[in-house]
Amino acid sequence: MSDSTSRKLSLDREPYREFTIEALLVGALIGVVMTCAFVYIGLKLGFTMGGSTVAAILGFGLLRGVLKKGTIIENNINQTVASGVNTASAGIVFTLPALFLLSATDTRISVEALPAILAAIGGSFLGVAVIIPLRKQMIEFERLKFPSGVAVGTLLKSPGAGIHQAKMLAIGVVLATTIHILCNVKMLPDEIDIGGPLGLPMSIPLVVYVSFASLGAGLLSGSGGLPFVFGGVLAWWLISPIAIGLGWVPSQAALTAPDWAGHEAWSNQVLYGEMLRPLGIGVLIGGAFAGVVASFPALKSAIKSLSQAAKAGGQGGSEELSSRVLYAGMIGSVVILYFAAMTSSPDITVGQGIGIAVVGTIWLALAGLIVAQATGMTDISPLSGMSLIGVTLMFFMSGGNAVSAIILGVAVCVGIGQCADMMGDLKAGHLVGAQPRKQQLAQFAVGWLGVPVAVGVLFFLWNSVGFGSDINPELSAPQGDALAQVIKSLGEGAAPLDKYLGGAAIGLGLGLFPVPGLGVLIGLAMYLPFSITLTYGIGCLGSIYLTRTKGQEWIGSTLVPIAAGFIIGEAVTNLVAAMIMGLTAA
């Protein structure tokens, strides 16, 4: 026996480090820095990224490397805190800029920080509360994959996983980072068009999105992700050519413009923007609702077990948050949303305020479930689509008041983001053996912190350099701009109700088939451009092939760390790019 292996372990030690002040402070610090960077990148590029992987790496460095204290579980709390803080950035940067942009052209609109902050904090707490019973359902009963959660779990476990797995993780990270940097500096294309050289029309797209994160998510999902690919095939290789072939999109002959070279691109735009995407949103909603109905007995059992554990104060009670927290969180959020609605505009009546708070809470819970399911199955979040529906609902509930609709939309968007983020962190926590109660308490403790930071950064940028394509093309705020356009079209009464209702009926029907989450997966595939689905599908097929040829053990020891490395590599590269952009702009 060597000296190292014969070394004795102490039996008299301080309690195992988990929810510590160091984890909280380091996580909060990382979260605040990421929030600032992601608000900036969200205004510039129109998307943000999950912060859990980056936080886990930085947490290891700070807690273990610098403070010489961190345990695996403590680092899980650290990344939960960091991403809990940072999650607000996406919810706010997708929605609130719309209000700034509308205020630039309409003097009747002014942007007040307080209602937005109140609404976002309310949404944030509700997002975490809703997750309490859903954790059992999605992580313990349904065993959803949560590829990013698995990636973080793999990273957290790497100190004890052995040299081979560490090497595989490093290979994945290096490969993804290299390719992503080459794409960012335009030395490699973002997409590879295979269909064009083969002579396929644009209505039958065969384009692969160059993203190792999507590939990694597919590799981790395996056969469970195949319905998502089928959904993409249905939308883009079946409906799309049928719609074009049957003239459901006006043909060149119908337009009497035989020489119009831009017709094909325009047709695809109509097909995606007016037909498939809104239908996909409807399918997502119907599919999620069917999922709630189908899993109702299990959900009921989950809530019952939480209540029993709380009453008994036994083992379950110490690991899970009580169902009382769920009820208190929901009631508290209804109250906060009510006050946010009332302070958002003097035109809102008490009845409207109550309606907004109740409907907003219900929608947030359902949309949180949808986003958590979608990320659990594919790692792709339909956050913007769900927020869009949320803003639409709030617009009608507030009697067409754009300010109230956006302010409450902020709450919904932040809350939905919290649901998906918390669930991914809980999955990572499940893999390393963290106590869900402590993770949820950590998220409750800091869920509010990112909100004033993100709102503050937005106000600072608006008052210093401005944003929006007309004011500062460098910070075009694409999501906020799109939302402002939607608000305007809603004002003109142009919601695609037929697509939403038709889609919801399809989603409900898909929920009857004995494949869990089918509606959500197919809806998500219709909602997304096919290139993303295709890359993910390549990952799924690769995983199925490798499982058959190499066996389950090889998958666990080699493929999982490589795929996790893909996700981590791309996330880290994105964060560094955001930091560089932010520093350059400053």
């Binding site: 030690r13 059992k136 009963f141 007995p297 690991e319």
Partner: protein
């Protein structure tokens, strides 16, 4: 039966999705108008302008400075911008010296007029009124409702057949082959086994009063072995178990099973972190939870 159910379901999904995606008539008309405006502007006006410019000035369009596209944010600013542009355009036309060649002069005027028309077209495109939600819904139901309804019917019938076949497969009463995972009976046996083995591990670590790194490595490897031999197969067989005992009973048993699994993982993490007391406590908790799961299943 399995293929029949899946086939009907697939046909239904295809029909529903296709008819669901079909544009309602008012929306189709609106898009047609938009396409006509776009194609007119892009093909006719642009080529007219390019030919005229080439003829008038001997330059191609790329060398000529074209004013930026008008704003499309809201109708008020759009109109103001457009009015200013047209005034600017009229001033420009007025300031032009008449060309000695009347034909060339006419061509110059024609491209300027074309540009003026193009700006007006762009405004029309930007502010085309979309049909309202109720009108769209009513029209879509009229045009696509039958195909969509037929698709929905196939979805429901196909799904019900598939559910029946799946249930028969999972409970082992069907004639068609199953998914290849372990049976529900074996799940019970495996849960009993894993509860006993984790209980054994918990006893071993508790009794070890002078643990070493080697002991920790050994326990860690046993946990990794259990993950592959028992935890994963039980998780893979969860749908079979659900089908046999029902969702509520499944949830009652799988809750403690998952708590046990999580505590085993916690013990693994504690061993990596060389925290023996936590590993002892976590394995004890895991054993208790797994015994509870075993009881629920039996």
């Amino acid at each position: 039966m399995k293929h029949l159910g899946t086939g009907l379901f697939a046909i239904g999904v295809g029909l529903c999705a296709a008819f669901g995606a079909q544009l309602s008539q008012p929306m189709y008309e609106m898009k047609k108008e938009q396409g006509q405006l776009l194609s007119y502007e892009l093909s006719t006006l642009k080529s007219k302008y390019e030919v005229a410019l080439k003829n008038a000035e001997g330059k191609d369009a790329s060398s000529h400075k074209i004013p930026a596209d008008p704003l499309t944010k809201d109708y008020t600013s759009q109109s103001a911008y457009l009015t200013a542009l047209i005034a600017q355009h009229d001033e420009y036309v007025a300031s032009l010296k008449r060309h000695s060649d009347a034909k060339l002069d006419a061509l110059r005027r024609s491209w300027l007029d074309a540009r003026r028309s193009a700006l007006a077209q762009k405004t029309k495109i930007a502010f085309l009124e979309k049909p309202g939600p109720n009108l769209r819904l009513a029209s879509w139901v009229t045009d696509s409702g039958a195909g969509f309804g037929a698709g929905l019917f196939f979805i429901v019938i196909g799904a019900l057949i598939a559910r029946r076949v799946k249930k028969a497969e999972l409970t082992g009463s069907g004639t068609e082959s199953g998914s290849g995972s372990i049976s529900a009976v074996n799940v019970r046996v495996m849960v009993t086994e894993v509860a006993e083995q984790v209980g054994g591990l918990a006893e071993r670590v508790k009794e070890n009063q002078s643990p070493t790194i080697a002991c920790a490595d050994e326990i860690r490897q046993e946990i990794e072995r259990l993950a592959l031999s028992h935890f994963q197969p039980i998780v893979d067989a969860r749908y079979r178990l659900q089908a046999e005992i029902g969702l509520a009973a499944f949830a009652e048993a799988f809750g403690p099973f998952s708590a046990g699994e999580r505590n085993v993982s916690r013990a693994w993490s504690a061993l990596v972190d060389e925290h023996w007391p936590e590993a002892v406590a976590s394995l004890a908790n895991a054993a208790t939870a797994l015994r509870m799961a075993d009881q629920k299943l039996s």
